[in-house]
Amino acid sequence: MRDIIRLSLTLALVGILSAGLLTVVHGITEPIIAERQEEEYRQALESYFPGFASFETEEIEDDRFDLIYDGDGNLKGIMSTSVAMGYEGDIVYNLAVDAEGNIVGLRVVAHSETPGIGDVITTESFKEQFYGKSFDDPITANEDIDIVSGATVSTVAITNSVRRVIGVIGEEFMGLETIEVDITRVPDGVYEGSAPGLMGPIVVSVEVRGGEIVDIEVLEHEETPTYFIEAYPLIPDLIIENQHFDVDTKTGATVSAEGIVNAVEDALAGAME
């Protein structure tokens, strides 16, 4: 019995000493860690928005947006933190946008892409393709952004995610208005429109007769054929059947499907009276 008590007390004593020591060290290092993390983020902000005074954080769905203000309370720009699905896992990145909506910086915070292959997303030569672009630009793989062969998945993932995030910024903070398409206001005729797919722009022609879409045809695309077949002709049929664009795009090729829908919308938006 004495033996049992001695054994457990020894272990307990070691535990207590260890807990005491750790709590002390934790007490010392914790504020330093927190301060350092904050400092690091402020420094990143400083490098993109020199002389900023304060920022305000807003979260929309899974993205975080920091609105940066100067001393007079004017908006200097926006820094977003978002996640893109890369080849081997999540890519966390910051996108810095100035007050006019132009991209001024792209900073990869964390990623687990293959070293020597997928990690080109951290190189300046890849990132600077985005600088100066805004929500008016297509930001589409193979159109205005060169993807890197061998690292297609990683680079395409970033490109598509940046396009989505800058769209959100435009709509939420820059007063960008999206035009609601009303098919009944479109005169009869055949219209062309385009929108980004996964690997490049998708160009469609839409035929409207009597205020109804009667035919949709994809004229050009750069998607992978085996995937694209999952979206086409399924999506055009759905649009024609329902006569609106709010169709289920969750196919084996979601991005391509959304691309087709957006291209049709684009074609009709320009044709409205």
């Binding site: 033996d3 049992i4 054994l7 457990s8 007390l9 020894t10 272990l11 307990a12 004593l13 070691v14 535990g15 207590i16 260890s18 807990a19 005491g20 750790l22 709590t23 002390v24 934790h26 007490g27």
Partner: protein, 284 residues
């Protein structure tokens, strides 16, 4: 406050684990005879299996229960036997451990090759492949399966292509004998006296003399000359009975290929290399 929680949590956890282990050790205690542990510590612990039990632990149990004898542990030798005797408190007779002897002296200079073998480096495999790469299908192949199994570093592969036994280190466990696919190694009681026919070939004399300079050609000269009838033919191979041998050496004199040697003068690695060097010098 945090420090109180921390200390409480880890302290309690330590206490709990300590208690749990101590109690478990008490409840689930397995009765072990202390003598078994002592015997286990006394034996060499090579787990060679020469005693006939699965490992040294099993042997220790068997010894304590009286099932096995102390000198069943062959590698342990005299010292172990004494140590075990001390632990168990009884008189146990000591025995001498045998020594491994290779019954082939056809080294790579004396026994000729039939083809160049470049396959798996293993005697068993080399021997299976087309009956071995040597002209003699009974002789040593020299890939050292016996060397690989030895737990005591008592056997090494000589430069002449035959394994060499270090009698000082050999414990007589017999692992090498059972590892040899051609059964060329025999465990003999230690000693320097007596003569041996160092060949295992069962081929006809003509075949043997073509394959190896020193193989037994079954001429029966030794059988005839032996004054005490200690030599008999086992098929096409002469075998000397060590118990009957009087160490006279007549058989060695009569043996045409020189297969018979006294146990104290079995050709060594150095002898074989010297003979080979002489031969090359002559032919040059």
């Amino acid at each position: 406050m945090l420090i109180v929680y921390a200390i409480l949590a880890l302290g309690l956890m330590g206490l709990l684990f300590g208690l749990m282990l101590a109690v478990a050790a008490r409840i689930f205690a397995v009765e072990v005879d202390p003598r078994v542990e002592a015997v286990k510590d006394a034996v060499p612990g090579a787990n060679c299996g020469a005693c006939g039990y699965a490992g040294c632990a099993k042997f220790a149990e068997a010894v304590v229960s009286g099932e096995a004898k102390a000198n069943d542990c062959i590698p342990g030798g005299e010292e172990t036997v004494k140590a075990i005797a001390e632990i168990l408190g009884g008189d146990i007779e000591t025995s001498v451990s045998p020594v491994a002897t290779l019954f082939c002296i056809g080294d790579c200079f004396k026994a000729s090759d039939r083809f160049v073998y470049d396959g798996v480096q293993d005697c068993a495999v080399a021997g299976e492949f087309n009956d071995g790469f040597k002209n003699c299908s009974y002789g040593c192949l020299g890939y050292g399966n016996c060397v690989k199994v030895c737990l005591f570093d008592a056997i090494y592969m000589g430069k002449h292509g035959l394994p060499v036994v270090d009698e000082e280190k050999c414990t007589g466990c017999g692992l090498c004998a059972s590892a040899c696919p051609r059964e060329l190694i025999q465990m003999l009681p230690p000693g320097e006296e007596g003569y041996l026919v160092l060949c295992s070939s069962q081929d006809r004399g003509k075949t043997v003399s073509r394959a190896c300079e020193v193989g037994c050609i079954a001429c029966k000269a030794c059988v005839k000359v032996c004054p005490v009838e200690a030599i008999e033919m086992d098929g096409k191979l002469a075998v000397i009975d060590l118990e009957k041998c009087t160490d006279c050496g007549d058989c060695k004199e009569k043996c045409p290929p020189g297969t018979i040697h006294r146990r104290s003068a079995i050709p060594s690695e150095a002898d074989a290399l010297a003979a080979a060097a002489e031969k090359t010098a002559e032919s040059a």
